[in-house]
Symmetry: C2
Subunit: 419 residues, 2 copies
């Protein structure tokens, strides 16, 4: 009540709250500063209330809503009363409706975004920022195999563990891997997919990753499973891939490449599988070119970029690859993230011990914001299957991805018939 003695100051804060509310497209949320400033007024029907602790935080929000919100939330100077995910979803949707026009400039800004170029050295720095967080942290909320990419839920209510295994099978079936084939994986995380391919599909895998801690864990696992002879984990940038392979696999790596390196990536794929191999790119994408939020790039994923489908396809066009299949699994990523966030919240105290409260809150915001973005359609998840111009062993239909053994069998007979 003390502040009501300063009517001008009072009205400036009210004006700022209103300005921030407008900048996010007037969603059904209330912004409040302390006890006696709020927009919209108390009787409006809202999904959530954002409590801003002080004028400095409000000013930061007004100057740069995304960074201001991310930093304010992480530091506990912004709290959200109500469902954090629903709140973020409402904000994303209202911003999007407000910005429906002006796509030309969005397209251009997307293409021109070169702020954190992924040179070899830059990539290593960017990847370590994220993935060299202790594996103990990820173990708190990922599935037992530590698959840190979108799962595939054959049924909407499959468990996370089932869905991660189903995702690996979905990828392997899309590539119709055959025993004895050679596979190169670009960006292998803790090695779950590489090990799954070798164990369940009888292929030889060389898997690249520049995160030292992940590679060490992956090697240990392969050894434990007796697969050290069929899976080789290499601590190196995938730009240094050598050798020739039947299939190129990349799950959750393209986001770290950056469009300025797409031409080079196409070259690497071409020299790996030539014109007879096939490949899959599994990546976070967008409906049109657009950078990640500046806060995500600053705090969570330096150098990350989610391409539009057209941008991703231009990796392949110069090399005469045929796109065979694209599937958008956006709702599966929303579900994956919901389960991750559940686990994260259940381990909240341990997370805070490991990361400290500020980083823990930043991660909560990142996970919740990602759920919101996949639900609202700001982000997409594409699985893109392609093959070289002379690849002829292509399944006749996609039925084998969805059906019982006998259909697969029929398909294999067909492949033999045409080979």
């Amino acid at each position: 009540m003390a502040r009501s003695n300063f009517p001008l100051f009072h009205s400036v804060c009210g004006w700022l709250l209103q300005k921030v509310h407008k900048s996010i497209g007037h969603p059904r949320v209330r912004l409040s500063l302390g006890q006696d400033e709020a927009f919209p007024a108390a009787d409006a029907d809202v999904l959530a209330t954002v409590s801003i602790a002080d004028q400095r935080t409000l000013a930061a929000l007004a100057l740069n809503p995304e960074i201001g919100f991310g930093e304010g939330y992480s530091q506990g100077r912004i709290e959200v009363q109500g469902d954090l995910v629903r709140f973020l979803e409402a904000v994303l949707e209202s911003i999007r409706s407000a910005n429906k026009t002006g796509w030309h400039s969005k397209l251009i800004s997307g293409w021109l975004d070169r702020m954190q170029a992924n040179s070899l050295r830059g990539s290593a720095r960017n990847i370590h920022h994220h993935y060299d967080l202790s594996a103990d942290f990820y173990k708190l909320w990922l599935d037992p195999q530590l698959a840190y990419t979108c799962a595939y839920f054959p049924e909407p209510f499959s468990t996370l563990e089932q869905a991660q295994v189903a995702k690996m099978d979905h990828v392997c079936r899309k590539l119709w891997l055959q025993p004895g084939e050679r596979v190169v994986e670009a960006g292998c995380g803790w090695g779950a997919l590489a090990i799954h391919m070798a164990r369940n599909y009888g292929v030889k895998v060389r898997a690249f990753n520049i995160s030292k801690e992940q590679i060490l864990i992956a090697r240990e696992r392969a050894k434990e499973e007796g697969l050290a002879g069929s899976v080789e984990f290499i601590e190196d940038d995938c730009r240094n891939i050598t050798g020739s392979y039947d299939a190129f696999v990349s799950v959750g790596m393209l986001e770290h490449v950056g469009p300025q390196n797409y031409e080079h990536l196409g070259e690497i794929i071409d020299r790996s599988i030539g014109d007879t191999g096939r490949g899959i790119l599994h990546f976070i994408g967008r409906n049109y070119p657009h950078p990640f939020s500046p806060w995500i790039r600053k705090r969570i994923f330096p150098g990350a970029y989610a391409p539009s489908l057209a941008q991703a396809v231009t990796i392949l066009e110069p090399w005469d690859f045929s796109v065979l299949d694209v599937e958008n699994l956006r709702s599966h990523y929303a579900r994956t993230l919901e389960l991750w966030l559940d686990g994260f919240e259940q381990s909240w105290e341990k997370v805070v011990q490991l990361l400290g409260i500020e980083t823990a809150r930043a991660w909560r915001l990142y996970l919740a914001g990602s759920i919101a973005a996949f639900r609202a359609g700001n982000l997409q998840l594409f699985q893109l299957v392609f093959a070289g111009a002379k690849c002829r062993k292509i399944p006749w239909t996609r039925a084998h991805l969805y059906s019982e053994q006998q259909v697969e069998q029929k398909d294999r007979e067909w492949i033999r018939a045409i080979s």
Copy 2:
């Protein structure tokens, strides 16, 4: 033998044969001129021999191989001994291998190709060129419903009739049409799909086509089936589509649009289905931007253009549509065309009566060349499903396309649960 009296003339023709052979990348075929000139020599192992009747035809081939071959073949001045399709496939593959480098210039030439701009008037002229050939002609070799687009063969050896019905169901299931919904079809041919959707999926259809003869036949059919109340056939350019719809369908129309009109097409789709509808584009595409052969554009499909996938996706990106699913059905188009060519050859005498020998031979070459192009991968067939940013009724997986009724049922329950 007379010519051997003119050794210089003799060697010039040999040199020209060799030059033509080189320009097509030295495939395993022999080119011969009259009785005593051939390249390569008689003992080489070849798939086919191309007999060139006279020096004028050889000169035309040397100057412009594609036009020269197309015109020479149509006029009977070039004959192919051996399997015409295999011969064309071998040529396409050898040209491709020879041109593997230089993709930058190919990309640019593809994008810049604006020779036959599809203005409203231009489109009508171009479409009439092809589709106003008497329906009696198409009835000789298409399926009974006259579907003149790629069929979908659930089994490689399904009949053409089965596969055309399966294609229509594949399209309808990909769009998860619900009874009572409104559908707009851009480019409806003789109306098979529009009638199928209305009859089997209970939707209301407005179908556009600028070919008068096709529209008249389509209307007659709808009337015969008692569907005149649910399918409206409109003789107009799809740029004049008005009204709002749940789904936008276009099968085999994009090829006639031309990339200079893609932005406008996106606008039409957006105003038809807004941000809650969904749509499908079924079209002949390519691995990278490249024009059709000049002969095809001259004789068969004036103004036709098959886009790369990236080009097609750029129709949708400005409007925030999400690409949900892309399927490449190239091998299904090769199979469809094989069955068309079978029917065409079986009706050869009637075809010649209707079209005259020169046009009949041109059509044979076009059908055979298309089989070769889909087999060799010069052409692709994409089915691209997309939805507006706020479309939420999206099936959880694609299993419903491939499985029995109960899975579809489960999917519908899921849709209801999230709606």
